[in-house]
């Protein structure tokens, strides 16, 4: 089967991904679909030859697809019309073919995971020279700061790779003594090596005739056999280098299942560990929201969301307290950010992402709401560009919709403060006149980097914020 019946599609262009994935091939078991690509001219450097492979729409009702298997592996050379990946739609499994010649540089969505239609699932480089670039791009895209999205997450930085780099070195030593030798590895050993990204040439074979067995590869990858009852005794060179270094060993509960992190979850984990190096403190503040609620009721019909209202309020308060919008990058200085970009934490099936409302203080409420909807849509379909989730200067996290009255957020590395917003609920409040009244009250709790933000700064910021929320007319101006 080749691509003779391919649906016509938009040619590669500089258009955004969504425009391409929007085409709906009316196909029902007629021919394998082709992967869609777009060229991305994100960096000004020469990377125009790197294409993204997107989740195709295999039927008119398909919204997301699961990667059943990658037929090709990273580094494989693809020619036009070849099957690259098998996608399970709501109807059946389909082989998806490539539209271009090239090299599969990076697999972004691994086997077994799902991606929405139009989301990038892999990167295709045109020449070998660009593979590294593509990978680096994929890697840097998800780079340093807040929880990043799977779409551009570096495959190279996914969990299994961590142990890979290290173990082969000690393990390789004995090989050298033998001088050049032929490497024989069993089919399953090869599969495992690929899966765990172990360089099979550096694994020492202990099987018959010195061949590399699946167990050898697992050892090199730092995987201990599943059935070990005693806590893993640090076995030879291999496991020593495993990530277990920092993690204490826990007693094993029989029957537990181990699910490896997705790339997004791994990024979250990494960022959370990093956050431990920042000295933080927290300040809470009650905010009356009756006026805000009234405003919300008025503008809701115009498409304004509560998230936009809160982001706008925070941004306006930050404008008056630039230090809370600053960040401490080197432990020696304040970095005052030129714009106020409010990142808002969003739970996305099995992950966490922080789409960013840029220049939230400058955009009006309606534009902000529109922008927010767009970002959420993109986040769901894993189409967020890196600058749309890693450029935040202040983060807003709201669990009020679950009825949470107050909570404590972890400060994402690279930012000065994060605000945790609880539910707004009718609360008896004692007024200055000594009378009780019932007012809608919301508890906010800000976590900040004490190297740059001090208690008084935060308190002043919160006071301003509360004032803006309690007299929200300025929000609509």
């Amino acid at each position: 089967m080749s691509s003779s019946l391919l649906q016509p599609r938009a040619p590669p262009s500089l258009s955004s991904s969504s425009s391409i994935s929007g085409s709906k091939p009316q196909w029902r078991f007629t021919s394998p679909p082709a992967v869609t690509f777009t060229r991305r001219a994100r960096n000004s450097t020469v990377n125009a030859k790197i294409r993204e492979i997107f989740m195709p729409a295999l039927s008119s009702t398909m919204t997301e697809g699961k990667i059943v298997s990658w037929i090709k592996s990273e580094g494989d050379v693809l020619s036009k019309g070849e099957s690259v990946v098998v996608v399970e739609s709501d109807k059946a499994d389909m082989d998806v073919e490539t539209f271009y010649d090239g090299i599969l540089a990076a697999i972004v969505v691994p086997e077994g995971e799902s991606a929405p239609v139009g989301a990038p699932i892999g990167l295709l480089a045109e020449t070998e020279a660009e593979i590294e670039e593509a990978r680096a791009k994929a890697a840097s895209a998800g780079g340093s700061s807040p929880p990043k999205i799977a779409a551009d997450a570096p495959v190279a930085a996914s969990p299994p790779s961590a142990p890979v780099a290290a173990p082969p070195t000690p393990a390789a030593a004995p090989v050298v003594a033998d001088g050049p030798r032929k490497i024989v590895s069993t089919p399953f050993a090869k599969k495992l090596a690929k899966q765990h990204k172990v360089d099979i040439n550096k694994v020492v074979g202990t099987g018959p005739f010195g061949r590399i067995t699946p167990a050898d590869v697992e050892a090199a990858a730092g995987i201990t056999p599943v059935k070990s009852t005693p806590p893993p005794v640090t076995a030879p060179a291999a496991t020593a280098a495993a990530p277990a270094k920092s993690a204490p060993t826990f007693a094993e509960i029989p029957g537990a299942t181990v699910v490896p992190f997705t790339t997004m979850q791994a990024a979250v984990s990494k960022n959370m560990i990093e956050s431990l190096s920042v000295p933080t403190f927290r300040v809470g503040y009650p905010v009356m929201t009756d006026a805000l609620d009234a405003l919300y009721a008025k503008v809701k019909s115009k498409g304004v969301t509560m998230t936009a209202l809160l982001a706008k309020a925070a941004a306006m308060a930050l404008a008056q307290h630039p230090v809370v919008n600053a960040s401490c990058k080197d432990g020696k200085s304040f970095t005052y950010n030129s714009s106020i970009n409010i990142a808002v934490a969003v739970a996305i099936n099995g992950g966490l992402i922080t789409p960013v409302l840029q220049d939230a203080d400058k955009l009006d409420l309606y534009l902000l709401s529109e922008k927010w909807k767009e970002l959420v849509e993109k986040a769901r379909s894993k189409q967020l560009q890196p600058h749309e989730y890693n450029s935040g200067t202040f983060t807003l996290s709201n669990l009020g919709m679950f009825g949470v009255d107050r909570f404590d957020a972890i400060l994402p590395p690279g930012q000065g403060a994060i605000m945790a917003v609880g539910v707004s609920k009718p609360t008896p409040v004692a007024g200055k006149d000594g009378y009780f009244s019932v007012k809608n009250q919301m508890l906010v709790n800000v976590t900040a980097d004490h190297r740059i933000v001090y208690g008084a700064d935060l308190a002043a910021f919160l006071k301003t914020f509360a004032k803006i929320v309690q007299e929200p007319d300025s929000l609509t101006m």
Partner: protein
């Protein structure tokens, strides 16, 4: 009882070419013996050089024939009275099927067998392999914790006893063999023991010097595993299907040369029993004989998730058995450039490169018949053709020996077709209606043309084809079994509703195909069969849905209420 033995497209250009492995060295001048693949089963029926007697019949019978066969003399002239109406050389599934039908038609029939009754299929092919595959299917299921858990079952470590598994296979073979012998005896078919050969028109010799005459003769001598040159078979670490079916050992790592039916089925068995498998395929893709779409899915389901890797586009030009403390060494050569590629070191190698006809020593030269790469040339009525292209009167050849379609049930069907002709009814077997199946887990089955073949035919004959597909994912029974993996595919003519081919991969595909093969054989069209009712919930609804999803542009027959 019989399932597929083997197939050969060489002499059947319109047939699917299941067989793909070809050794460049074995038959340098010929366009590669694609024919030779399948159910690994040796046949020694007629090896005169090797005059071994294996007594199967009773002594008394033997004596009787010695007497009766004394009449004719002079090899050139046909006798006028005959010992038998029909003599069949070879008691495999083809010969057996022909004999049964001949008796039913009132013919006095004898069957000559130089080895064991049942031939390849029963002794060294379909039958014992199904026993092993039954084991592998269960092992696979029990080992699949995920699958078990999904059904709410808990099973602790599944294991097996190699010898017991092997015994199951050999017991099944002997049981089926005895059934076969008993059925022949019960019907009064004379079983003559010894290698048979043709002395002249209507004259057959069997054993050392027993001569008999027959009004008609059917050659049904079958085939043996084909071993390309350069491969040394020691029966222990380098084996053919003949040896492998005895399951004398389960290697940790086995290379399977050839990825047709035999190779695929054995990979299913070996991986279920814990082996790792490396396929060596001469063509550029695995399972080249299958409909490409089915092949792709098969690769995804039967190859990729298992402990299997493969080398395609290479010949195994030299295979040395394990000895002197060394593993089995396989030298690979690029199929196109003929340059040496790499060397594999494995624990065992299974040669599944197809099957070669067993026709040597048949005495065909006595009647001026020349085999073509070992196959006996026949016309569409299985009449043997001589060197000049004329049919040889009263001589027929069925089954693997003619290479038309190397499947056990095809041989049997050809035999029945011949008997029909002998008893006054012209009959031509429609080979396109003969189904084939591969008993992996899940199974693969097919009948008729593949999509590329259908396209080619459509182009030549200027008609259009359409393809309909259904998934097992949508089938209640399949989902209940947690076996939703699978696809059924129908290739048909939208203008007439004629069914050109059906291909199934999925649970019990081998049993499901018959609705389609019967439809093709009887000329039932899509617009008619779609009204047939299927019990719910059954796997057969996969085909029901398949037929219903086809769109035919002729006026459909409206069912008439009565």
């Amino acid at each position: 009882m019989q399932s597929l033995i083997s197939t050969s497209p060489i002499f059947a250009p319109n047939r699917r070419s299941f067989e793909s492995y070809a050794s460049p060295t074995a038959l340098p001048s010929s366009p590669t013996p694609f024919s030779l693949r399948f159910c690994g089963l040796r046949r020694e029926v007629l090896r005169l050089s090797q005059l071994k007697h294996r007594v199967i019949g009773t002594t008394s019978k033997k004596t009787r024939f010695n007497v009766s066969s004394a009449s004719p003399d002079g090899n050139g002239s046909p006798p006028t009275t005959f010992d038998y109406d029909l003599v069949i050389i070879g008691a495999g599934v083809g010969g057996h099927g022909a004999a049964l039908h001949a008796v039913e038609k009132g013919l006095k029939t004898a069957i000559i067998e130089g080895d064991v009754i049942g031939g390849t299929c029963v002794n060294r092919g379909c039958v014992p392999s199904k026993a092993l595959l039954a084991v592998s299917g269960r092992m696979r299921e029990l080992q699949d914790e995920h699958h078990m858990k999904a059904l709410g079952l808990q099973v602790s470590g599944a294991g097996y006893n190699r010898q017991a598994v092997a015994d199951h296979a050999s017991n099944l073979a002997s049981k089926i063999r005895n059934n076969l012998i008993n059925s022949l005896k019960a019907l009064g078919v004379d079983i003559l023991t010894g290698f048979g050969s043709i002395l002249g028109p209507q004259k057959v010799k069997y054993g050392l010097d027993n001569l008999i005459t027959a009004k008609d003769i059917i050659i049904a001598t079958g085939s043996v595993p084909f071993v390309p040159k350069g491969i040394e078979v020691d029966g222990k670490t380098v084996v053919t299907s003949d040896h492998a079916l005895k399951l004398e050992f389960v290697p940790e790592w086995i290379a399977i040369v050839g990825s047709g039916y035999i190779g695929l089925e054995f990979s299913d068995v070996y991986t279920a029993l814990g082996s790792e498998v490396t396929f060596i395929e001469a063509l550029d893709q695995l399972m080249p004989g299958f409909d490409p779409e089915i092949g792709k899915l098969a690769q995804r389901v039967l190859i990729n998730p298992r402990k299997i890797d493969y080398h395609t586009g290479v010949f195994a030009t030299k295979i040395t058995p394990a000895k002197d403390g060394k593993p089995v060494i396989i030298e690979l050569t690029d199929a196109k450039t003929k340059e040496p590629k790499e060397t594999l070191e494995v624990d065992a190698a299974l040669i599944a490169t197809g099957r070669a006809p067993f026709t040597k020593g048949l005495g065909l030269e006595n009647i001026n018949v020349e085999t073509q790469r070992g196959f006996v040339p026949v016309d569409e009525r299985m009449r043997v053709m001589d060197a000049k292209g004329n049919t040889v009167p009263h001589l027929y050849c069925i089954g693997d020996a003619n290479g038309k379609l190397m499947l056990a049930h095809a041989a049997s069907a050809q035999g029945i077709s011949v008997v029909e002709q002998l008893t006054g009814k012209d009959h031509v077997l429609n080979h396109l209606s003969v189904p084939a199946a591969c008993f992996t887990h899940p199974e693969i089955s097919m009948v008729g043309l593949t999509e590329p073949q259908a396209k080619e035919k459509a182009k030549k004959e200027k008609f259009k084809i359409s393809v309909a597909k259904t998934s097992f994912k949508a089938n209640t029974k399949a989902l209940a079994e947690n076996e939703g993996e699978g696809l059924a595919k129908l290739i048909y003519r939208p203008d007439t509703g004629e069914i050109l081919g059906v291909h199934i991969l999925g649970m019990h595909a081998a049993d499901l195909i018959h609705e389609a093969s019967n439809a093709i054989a009887l000329g039932t069209r899509v617009q008619d069969i779609k009204f047939a009712v299927h019990a719910h919930p059954t796997l057969s609804e996969v085909l029901d849905e398949l037929f219903k999803s086809a769109h035919v542009n002729v006026d459909e027959h409206k069912p008439v209420a009565v």
